[in-house]
Amino acid sequence: MSALLFRDLRLAFRAGGGFGLGLAFFLLVAVLVPLGVGPEPTTLAKIAPGILWVGALLACLLSLDRIFALDFEDGSLDLLATSPLPMEGAVAVKALAHWLVTGLPLTLLAPVLGLLLNLPAESYLWLILSLLAGTPALSMIGAFGAALTVGIKRGGLLLSLLVLPLYVPTLIFGAEVIKRGASGADAVTPLALLVAITAVSGALLPFAAAAAIRVNLR
């Protein structure tokens, strides 16, 4: 299991592995939005939580099709299917690897971008907590979408269409945590719900994703 994890991480960090792509995209969003919206600090502070969450979500979406596509093409997915490691475990490990190369760096980068967007000081803790709690769900849901579309040529657009509606609850609760945290309202409820989404996705979606992969390998 750890061998698979390290293999995926090594592939991602190699040149062209797409590690920098999501981060660069996230940075671009945070730089372009103030250029488009205007420099008023109050406006930026108001929309910053939403921008950061939407940016993180889209950056995550960019690299989803890589989770299984390359392994499907070179046949290593077939090998995984016949290996003693159950497909559910392989899917969970691959989602974890995806999170380690996108979700986690995005979470670490987000406070820096918060400065650019004039995010109020009391929001930073909530920003990091919400991304930490929510981005694993994004990777897991994304892995499920990638498993559904793995056999489809040029399935990138379809993958986005399938995954976006599934991202809605995570996005809403994630941005809500920061908004409420900034205004001093109760931010624990949405944070708990976010953790619940991540926990349930992590527990149940590997089964759905593994089923989809088995169908696609048939």
Binding site: L158, P165, V168, F173, A211
Partner: protein, 242 residues
């Protein structure tokens, strides 16, 4: 003799063929009566004026869209558990009908919201949920179209439908959490029955029945078409082998 007999395509074709003319006739009758009654013979609401007439299509379309999703979910579950091909085709047939009803609910909602709420689009929880719903339907239909092998497509869309339903419920809850919304206003709400007198209620019920029958008729016709196409494909495959 069990209900599952009708999962046999031949039996399904025979039974649905016999029922369809009646269902179509009932659909035309109830939809015709409901719409004409609602449009021509109901008074204006003292508050909403003539826009109250929009509910005769908005509410039935919305409820039929939700029922269409329920039908898809049940049919997907039956396909995954019992592997009856007809039920996979029912799920496939229901999706475009559900999407159309969802779009009707969204468009009529926007047209009604413009004079009532002063805006074409409000991020009201129900409108937002329906927008997400429409995206779900589009993704589901696109997945059916994208996968070539029919059994693979049925399996994948079945899994998507089940996972999607869980997330649809979750979205509904999240959206409520996020915005309390305009729909709940007492004078506008249909949930509070005392606000809706029989003058509006009766034609609305007829329209709801009409839309449900329309859904049933369209799904049966589409399922029958899919079964025919599937049989034609099977015959063509046998021919190639021979």
């Amino acid at each position: 003799m069990s209900l599952w007999e009708y999962a046999n395509p031949k039996k399904f074709m025979a039974l649905s063929g016999r029922l369809l003319p009646w269902i179509v006739a009932l659909t035309v009758l109830s939809l015709g009566i409901g719409i004409i009654w609602g449009f021509f013979f109901t008074p204006d609401d003292y508050k909403q004026g003539s826009t109250v007439k929009i509910i005769y299509i908005h509410v039935p379309a919305a409820s039929a869209a939700i029922n269409a999703w329920a039908v898809m979910l049940v049919a997907s579950l039956i396909w995954i558990v019992r592997r009856h091909h007809v039920s996979a085709l029912v799920a496939k047939a229901a999706a475009p009908v559900g999407l159309t009803f969802t779009l009707i609910a969204l468009i009529t909602g926007a047209l009604w919201g413009q004079p009532m709420w002063g805006t074409w689009w409000a991020w009201d929880p129900r409108l937002t949920s329906f927008l997400i719903f429409a995206l779900f339907y589009m993704g589901y239909i696109a997945l059916w179209e994208a996968v070539e092998n029919p059994d693979t497509a049925a399996d994948l869309t079945g899994v998507l439908c089940i996972v999607g339903s869980v997330f649809a419920l979750l979205s509904r809850y999240a959206v409520n959490f996020w915005n309390q919304g305009l729909h709940q206003g007492a004078s506008l709400s249909l949930d509070a029955k005392e606000n809706v007198s029989d003058v509006f209620w009766l034609p609305l019920v007829v329209c709801i029945i009409g839309f449900e029958l329309l859904f049933l008729a369209l799904v049966l016709i589409r399922t029958r078409s899919e079964i025919r196409l599937r049989r034609a494909q099977a015959l063509a495959a046998r021919e190639r082998l021979a």
